[in-house]
């Protein structure tokens, strides 16, 4: 099993690019270790800025630097970066059109046992609702690298969330089929579509395999680009497979599933079920334990998909 967390792929890409591009700057809020950015800080001390435990400061300083021609990458735990600095993201980054790349590390419930202070299960909702902000949740280290290369090359702000722990590979090196802002089709199918992002993608991929063994043809999409979402892929899924199951490590309010549901209900109404974290502080545990507890795993996804197909999508009749 892969032992390299996605955050390490971020550091690797930045180190590859920072040699030629001196405008690349990395900022941390006492988070260089947890962000795996220590090697960058060591190799490029002139392009590294430590701001201390001050996430609002982190984002404002990054915005000021961007406005003066630098390309800042500001890395901090997603829980603090996405909500404590939300106003700085809204005003100094997005509204002021500054090319800051925000790297939310240890996202979702990565810090499972540490309690809700350390969980970021509303970051998609918060940041996607800001005009001008893009939101990306890559699934594995290979895709993270492709995404980072695209983000280094473009010039508008974005938020990228990765988890803390190594995750199983979804892709193989050089075989990501990565197209910026387009969902990646992991498995073609006609009976239902499973759309996942971030760490849920590998579970969705496995669920697709389970379903295949049962004779169910599920399409599986890696929607790492939560905003701007790949509308065409969502609409194709609705038209061609007739029902959609979304899976994410996020609150059900305003996450990727909400965005998919809005598109589908507006343009091509078919049943959509959103699998997400419940509206309560997440239970303590490792990511695996927490995901299993809430059914956010391959068998839970496969089970829901099967129920949707058998009941024409109406698996929650009380709603």
């Amino acid at each position: 099993m892969n032992t390299i967390p996605n955050r390490r792929a971020i550091c690797e890409t930045l180190m590859e690019k920072a040699g030629q591009d001196k405008t690349i700057v990395v900022l941390c809020s006492d988070s260089r270790g947890s962000a795996s950015l220590e090697p960058f800080a060591q190799a490029y001390p002139q392009q590294f800025v430590e701001v201390g435990i001050a996430e609002q400061d982190l984002v404002s300083i990054a915005a000021g630097m961007a406005s003066c021609g630098l390309k800042p990458f500001a890395a901090s735990p997603a829980c603090f970066l996405s909500t404590r600095s939300l106003e700085q993201i809204k005003v100094d980054v997005a509204y002021s059109q500054n090319n800051v790349k925000l790297i939310g590390i240890s996202g979702g419930i990565s810090y499972g046992p540490l309690g809700m202070t350390h969980h970021s299960t509303q970051d998609i909702a918060c940041i996607a609702s800001i005009p001008g902000m893009r939101v990306y949740l890559p699934s594995d280290r290979h895709q993270t690298k492709c995404l980072m290369e695209a983000l280094v090359a473009d010039d508008s702000p974005a938020y990228l969330r990765v988890g803390r722990n190594p995750v199983e590979d979804v892709y193989t090196s050089g075989q990501c089929n990565f197209v910026m802002d387009k969902a990646t089709v992991l498995q073609q199918g006609k009976d239902i579509t499973i759309i996942a992002c971030g760490e849920m993608v590998r579970e969705a991929q496995k669920a697709g395999e389970i379903l295949k063994q049962k004779g169910i043809s599920a399409r599986v999409l890696d929607m790492y680009c939560v905003k701007p979402i790949d509308r065409q892929a969502v609409l194709d899924a609705a038209r061609e497979t007739g029902s959609i199951l979304t899976v994410e490590e996020h609150s059900a309010f305003g996450g990727m599933g909400s965005i998919v549901s809005q598109i589908v209900s507006t343009c091509c109404p078919v049943p959509v079920v959103n699998m997400a974290l419940p509206d309560q502080p997440a239970i303590a545990g490792t990511s695996r334990q927490v995901f299993d507890y809430y059914g956010l795993n391959a068998s839970g996804i496969a089970e829901n998909a099967e129920r949707m197909i058998k009941s024409s999508g109406k698996i929650y009749p009380e709603h």
Partner: protein
């Protein structure tokens, strides 16, 4: 222009700002009149900025952290040729880019402001970028005194001295008033000099509605070495219209027709009195 001419100009610009507020039915007149001399001193005597230099990487950077004094800034930028007067006349009207707080769609504006406590940390980023890129520019941030209750100000203040940013100059429009009353009663900012000195800043203080004093003090602050510079400019809120002076209620009052005429009259008189 010398200090006397600029003092007259500051009163003339107050007339224009009052006109924008009166016609646009929105704005912060007491704050505009308080900060005007600071902005005039900066824009006509210190800032290396002009319409021709808007993309020049070596230009000075100016941040109006107290973004609610947009009218004062707009009148100065307009006077300096950043945009035509007819455009500015759309201030606060439907679809206008000249909103009640500055935004970058307006020529001459470097960062969108209006939410307090952002200017200093953004200025820290600009000053750091200048140093990293070997640019000679300075970063000037104008803050209000009510704004000092924002925690992010102190995060920025700590970072500015940590990074020894002597290319950063902050000026506080110290009028001792905010929307609900005196700064001392709402949230006492205490002894600003010692607070900022304890954060590692070099601190100056001067009368904030006198161009000559501001000019001299800012010149001294620019010479600060190894530490960021703070100028506490002791101002009078509403300066130039006696009925509004030191009155918190004029923070964002839109003058009536009668008041507007009184304002114009008094500003003209005061302008004429300057020798």
């Amino acid at each position: 222009m010398n200090d006397t001419e600029l003092s007259r100009k500051a009163f003339l610009l107050r007339e224009q700002a009052a006109g924008l507020i009166y016609r646009g039915k929105s704005g912060h007149i007491g704050s505009d009149f308080s900060v005007m001399d600071i902005l005039v001193t900066l824009f006509y005597l210190h800032l290396n900025v002009s319409p021709a230099q808007q993309t020049d990487p070596s230009r000075d950077r100016f941040i109006l952290s107290k973004g609610h004094t947009a009218e004062a800034l707009y009148c100065i930028l307009c006077d300096k040729g950043f945009f035509p007067k007819e455009e500015l006349e759309t201030f606060c009207q439907f679809g206008s880019k000249y909103t009640g707080h500055p935004n970058k769609n307006i020529n001459g504006v470097e960062i969108n402001s209006g939410s307090l406590g952002h200017g200093l940390p953004v200025g820290v980023g600009m000053a750091l970028a200048g140093r990293m890129q070997g640019q000679p520019y300075r970063v000037y941030v104008v803050m209000g005194d009510g704004e000092l209750a924002e925690g992010s100000v102190w995060e920025g203040a700590m970072a500015a001295s940590h990074f020894k940013l002597d290319n950063l100059i902050v000026i506080i429009d110290r009028n001792r008033l905010q929307i609900s009353g005196t700064t001392e009663s709402v949230m006492n900012p205490g002894d600003l000099r010692s607070r900022f000195e304890s954060f590692g800043w070099q601190v100056w203080e001067c009368p904030g509605n006198r161009i000559d004093a501001l000019d001299q003090t800012i010149s001294e602050a620019k010479a600060s070495v190894g530490a960021p510079a703070l100028v506490i400019a002791n101002t009078i809120k509403g300066y130039g219209y006696s009925a509004a002076e030191n009155q918190a209620k004029w923070h964002h009052k839109v003058p009536s027709e009668e008041e507007y005429q009184q304002i114009l009259e008094e500003l003209k008189e005061r302008r004429a009195m300057i020798e």
